[in-house]
Symmetry: C4
Subunit: 261 residues, 4 copies
């Protein structure tokens, strides 16, 4: 495989950034959207990459991802992985990190994060925006976008874009936190943007609100209609499943008074 120094290299027993396309950047912003609460970050980042027609530039494999391969519809298999997309247009330079999974243990998160940061450093990344959901445990009427930054002096800049500070409490778990936490120690700066969400459901609405703020920050314009279409599709699927379950309930008498266990 092609490593980040451009050399052919054997798969080793560690996290590996495999370069698919070489693309040079001067000062790109990294946007991370790996799977997390309500899939808010993942949906947003994936949509962004798609709408920008960003180019796949690297694949990340790790012994800390589950030891499974995915069977695709076309009859082929592929490893679980993370993927980095690159986008350049004029002064706007964006990297987007999405993927199937995150590492689960602390050791593994550290290794994966450090390997990724090595790669992002080689692409001259200085600013990192991680995306996530902020679980409220309840449905939210007006979704706010909360933020937490690596350095205090960044707050003003993001507040102007509508990001709310000081409201998010607790900890940020996983890549969205580690990229900023370890990143800060390695001289990166950045923000975690969190769309408020229930937490127990996939939330396209929160992703959409998040994307609005994100696009404003990145100074790009994208069509958000597709996110509504995906939402409609997802909701139809969920309803069908629920109907199936309710049919089963009726036939088996679950939940009815006549059913005694």
């Amino acid at each position: 495989m092609q490593n980040i120094e451009g050399k052919e290299e054997k798969m080793k027993n560690e996290t590996y950034v495999h370069i698919v396309n070489k693309m040079k950047f001067k000062n790109p912003i990294l946007v991370e959207g790996l799977p997390g609460i309500g899939l808010v970050g993942k949906i947003a980042a994936k949509h962004l990459a798609k709408e920008l027609k960003a180019k796949r530039i690297a694949e990340i494999y790790s012994p800390h991802f589950p030891h499974q391969v995915i069977m695709k519809k076309d009859g082929t298999i592929r490893m679980l992985r993370n993927v980095v997309y690159g986008y350049k247009k004029g002064k706007v330079e964006i990297l987007i990190l999405i993927g199937d999974v995150q590492a689960v243990t602390s050791d593994a998160q550290f290794e994966v994060t450090n390997k990724m940061l090595d790669y992002f450093e080689s692409l001259n990344v200085k600013e990192i925006i991680t995306l996530g959901g902020y679980g409220k445990g309840t449905t939210v009427d007006k979704i706010k976008i909360l933020g937490s930054v690596t350095h205090k002096e960044l707050i003003k800049k993001y507040e102007k874009k509508g990001v709310i500070f000081g409201e998010a409490k607790g900890t940020i778990i996983g890549a969205a936190g580690m990229l900023l936490g370890i990143g800060k120690l390695r001289k990166f700066n950045g923000i975690c943007l969190m769309g408020e969400t229930h937490g127990a459901f996939v939330d396209y609405n929160s992703s959409k609100e998040l994307l609005k703020v994100l696009c404003d920050i990145l100074e790009v314009k994208i069509n958000l209609d597709n996110i509504d279409k995906q939402k409609a599709k997802h909701e139809k699927l969920v309803k069908e499943e629920l109907n199936k379950l309710s049919e089963i309930d009726k036939s088996e008498g679950f939940g009815s008074l006549s059913y005694i266990r």
Copy 2:
């Protein structure tokens, strides 16, 4: 122990391929049949090695296999391990990988797989066939052999042998997946052949159907009668156990109304 470079080497704290017999190959096909769903792959691969009278060429030990030794009937002990058998006759060259166990964690699977691929590379393997069961959760009348390949262009070749593509969904867990997934990144190509099976039982029938297709692919002919004998033996054993349990049930009154706990 004899390592893959032919040198004496001390046991280290990592997965180790111990060469038992040196045997050279030009372009062998690797068949993997480690323990998995319904033991479909293991039974098939073991039967193949036995019928071909293949030669034991390597033993694989790993700190990631359980820390137990097996007490054999002859009064000796042996480590848990994987074993590689080699077979050559004219143009037909086959390696068969079977064993007691698989590593359980992702890290461990990566290490074991990479060590094995190093060894298989040294034997000029380019094509890998992994065997497994495809759990249907229900009994199957007509057992189909499903496939998933590393590269799209391989599909045609295997379809001609009766392998069905595009039907298997989800992921392949463990060695059968990893050898292909990591293998693909390391320039191997291959297929996972899956015999449909219930999933909750040892399934000799599925193994037999799998073997028919496999032998056709490998261009070898073997006697399959022994697999039926093993099946009969296994079924007798299971019935005896069930009878014992039912005797206990009767005497202790389990499940009867007279039994009150």
Copy 3:
């Protein structure tokens, strides 16, 4: 980051002592108060550092601490970590080790402890005092301070300060034990000072008694009033929470005879 040899160093995938302020010591005593039983040690050590106005000299990061970042009230994030404070006044030289977390597994505790001891060695530490709670499983009227030392000849010295020996039984788990256990093998000497405590509650009283003995040993005088204020604050908080729960109980009828589940 600044490593213990004073060089800039990249974050690696291991426990890392990041030097924040260089401060030289001739023969400092290390006081450890990481989170443990009843938070007895943590409260005492934190109070000591605060009252002495000790200076933050190092931060310890580790892949064995949870992969989370804390969102602070000021809108910024920070990694979970341990922190070392330094204090010098005349002949009195004290290092204080406190933090958010401890490593959970044995391997991790060994790595973290050894890295810390490397650092403490470089600061000429020879004596280590670890603080903890000694769980009695019941409320204690007169809190005794129990001790267990690395070397028998140290007992007399500490007995004079009111520490009771031979009464504590069982094992000391985590940093308070490891720093002394591994420390002993690495030629450090020291004591674990344990304040008797119930074990199931945060115990400011035990911390206070512990601090009295500790300050006598360290030959420093500090104001202990703040610990009482913190205690009052903590108790108020707990009471409010309990009241809320009891309100819920009343409204939902928990625990009353009319409530049937």
Copy 4:
């Protein structure tokens, strides 16, 4: 600490054999008795070391042993560890390995075992006798000593001493198995001697029978009276505990018909 090459060495983050006393051997037999089923092996090996007045020659520390220190009655702490004792008298040379704990995971068992074997190799050990209990799940009238060897040709020699072969089934878990399993791959030979035991209780009787056979093999004579004294002491303790529990039962009505939960 003093390492196995006789050099001073810092504690590293791996299993460490710390030499306490240098003692030379020509061809010693290693006897292992770490904690296992019914403590049969541990009691026997400990008794042997005591009666032979064997000399403590090495201590083994490991990051894979629990991260705890033991508080001793004399007011000092010590790390959990394994200990090697040495005994020499004429042609009889014996090493005895006992300890507080075993490593729990497979990786850890491999590391610890390999480190120990490095040490035993340096002392010219060729033969290993591991001790254990063989759980029968029921009380045994006449305790048999079962064996399983590394090499078939050893069976005769041990059969003459009353060891029974071919009867023990299943696997040997932990050090008693690993020292022989990995040992065999590293050119050691040996036997696991198992005293039949219930499995759920500490079994001094089985240890005593085991010791009789072991002493015959080792060609030493020791007094076994102390094992009976220990047994009596242990039984007294267990009875007292049971009486206490039965007092509680009476007062609280456990187990009586009048008690309704």
